[in-house]
Amino acid sequence: MQANAESKSELNINDKIAKSKNQSTTIRGLKLLLQSKTGTIGFIIVICVVLVAIFAGVLAPHDPALNNLTATLKPPAWLDGGSWNYVLGTDNLGRDVLSRIIVGTRVSLLVGVFSVVLAGLIGLIIGIVAGYYGGIVDNILMRLVDSFLAIPSILFILVVLAVFEPSLLVLIIVIGLTNWVTYARIVRGEVLSIKEREYVKASKSIGTKSSEIMLVHVLPNIVSSFIVISALSVATTIILEASLSFLGLGIQPPDVSWGAMLTDGRNYLATNWWLATFPGLAITITVLGIIFLGDWLRDVLDPKTQVNQKGGAK
């Protein structure tokens, strides 16, 4: 009898939530996406950037490395002297800026995504192990992290890039190896707090193995903050890659990256502003898109976020 009364009122109370709850995760995610304006914008930007990276070869109107000394430093099409042949103008060697940005998307995105994946994986594993087991294991791993933190990362990257020939792979590895410590620290901190939650204790009291507890109880509960940090980190990595290229240590010609374009354009900033401005804009828009998308991801991954009719996720 009691059960009935309770369940009835429960159904009553959660009627609104129930409707949205019975939908699949995908539909719920999409609904949340539409609810959040920034999320929608971020999603669209990121999808576009990814598509551009994938189909760069088809989309680029010109060969990005092709010099055309008859058409150097042409302004964008809508300015005097510009032509629709080179929509965003050309650089000092007559290379099409638009094509270079399109092809450069690949490098920026590859470096951004994969070095974050690498750093994230290392950091996640080390952070979870250190946080969960504590004691000596934690001590050793965290001292390792500390010593990594003690080395200025830009110096480390410079040294490595001076020794090895800078290439896409080397860039990804070296950025990944310098960034994992941040993840390890954040993940460990999260694990430490989650470890003390009663549901972890409850699972232990049931007799669950440590490895299972980490997978079932700890990991899912840090994954949302982890993904959000990663999304932000993709953004900062794109900027880092740009800075390295700017220093001349990034991607080497004839490959193109947004950072390298910035470097090239620097000298012409006063006279031919479009050389540096458009790759800069590309970086800004992509980074913003990823950050917006990260916020949305956090909401989707939290089962507490409700889809509501009035708009605006809680």
Binding site: S7, E10, E198, G207
Partner: protein
């Protein structure tokens, strides 16, 4: 020899705790040597008969929750024996212990943090069954749904997440998880403290129903004396890591022997305004003394209205002063 051991060793003891200690290092020197220890549990003896409920009461910091956690070895004891069905749990290997946990389950205080927010109710209740490989597939499903109904929830709620439930309902989910493996002993660690009054009664009655239905033995840890009194058969009163009095519920309230127990009971406000000024009161003065510098003699001495010189220097032992009535006091009350 501990008090408990002197007692006839009948088979109906499900659990016997002898000289259990848990000391936490509080601060250490840079060389890793312990400077100060917090004696959270400091040599307690308890016993538990099959089918009964032993209440453990005491104020915050008395070691009652640590005791509960140590029994399951969620916290490793510093010293002592925990004999469960003739086997000393302290000596068991990790693997053996994990198997034993099937028989001893726990219900937690905070219904909000004791359920994983990212798991659905079904999976929360199924977890113990899966871990111990009790059932899978359709069998598992049936068992989980039956458990959900046993604790008074509707099976249609199985696919929801914990945050969609109220405190009382979450506690029901926690109870369903605890009884899933048909354990012999359930340790209830303040299961109603965080709940509203009208919901507390629901949960207490649910626990009593389940006890009758499944022949469960409970250790009920609580700081609310009325609730502990309602549900328990016997009650142990703890103060600063020690058991100061342990007896049947009837005797504890009608023949209170320890001044602390007396003070604890009379501190509870009675929900009847007519008794406002009529009840005799033993007001316990002062705060709990510093737990890092325990006094040599009786730990209650600094707050006891009846303390003497002897209490200050000599520590009273837990003695059986009448059948099943244990008191640690030099001058038990009449």
């Amino acid at each position: 020899m501990s008090v408990v051991e002197v007692k006839e060793k009948t088979n109906n003891y499900l659990l016997q705790i002898e000289g259990l200690k848990k000391h936490f290092p509080v601060s250490t020197t840079i060389f890793g040597k312990t400077k100060q220890t917090l004696k959270a549990v400091d040599g307690i003896d308890l016993y538990l008969k099959k089918g009964e409920t032993l209440g453990i009461v005491g104020e915050s910091g008395c070691g009652k929750s640590t005791t509960g956690n140590t029994i399951l070895r969620l916290i490793e004891p510093t010293e002592g024996k925990i004999i469960f069905e003739g086997e000393d749990l302290v000596k068991l290997s990790k693997k053996k212990m994990q198997e034993i946990r099937k028989d001893i389950q726990m219900i937690f205080q905070d219904p909000f943090s004791s359920l994983n927010p990212r798991m659905k109710v079904f999976d929360i209740i199924a977890e113990p069954l899966r871990t111990h490989g009790v059932a899978k597939g359709k069998g598992l499903e049936d068992m989980v749904y039956e458990l959900i109904e046993t604790v008074g929830l509707d099976r249609s709620l199985a696919k929801r997440f914990p945050h969609e439930f109220s405190g009382g309902q979450r506690q029901r989910i926690g109870i369903a998880r605890a009884i899933a493996l048909k354990p012999k002993l359930i340790i209830c660690d303040e299961p109603v403290s965080a709940l509203d009054v009208s919901i507390q009664a629901q949960i207490l009655n649910l626990l009593l129903d389940l006890q009758r239905k499944f022949d469960l033995t409970f250790i009920f840890i609580g700081h609310g004396i009325p609730a502990v009194k309602y549900i328990s058969d016997r009650i142990a009163v703890m103060y600063m890591g020690e058991v100061v009095e342990m007896t049947t519920k009837e005797k504890l309230f009608s023949e209170t022997k320890h001044p602390y127990t007396k003070g604890l009971i009379s501190a509870v406000p009675i929900p009847d305004p007519k008794l406002r000024d009529k009840t005799e009161r033993v007001i316990i003065e002062n705060d709990i003394p510093d737990q890092l510098n325990l006094p040599e003699g009786c730990r209650f001495y600094s707050r006891c209205p009846f303390g003497t010189e002897r209490c200050k220097v000599e520590k009273p032992k837990l003695n059986e002063i009448s059948n099943e009535h244990y008191v640690a006091c030099h001058y038990p009350l009449n």
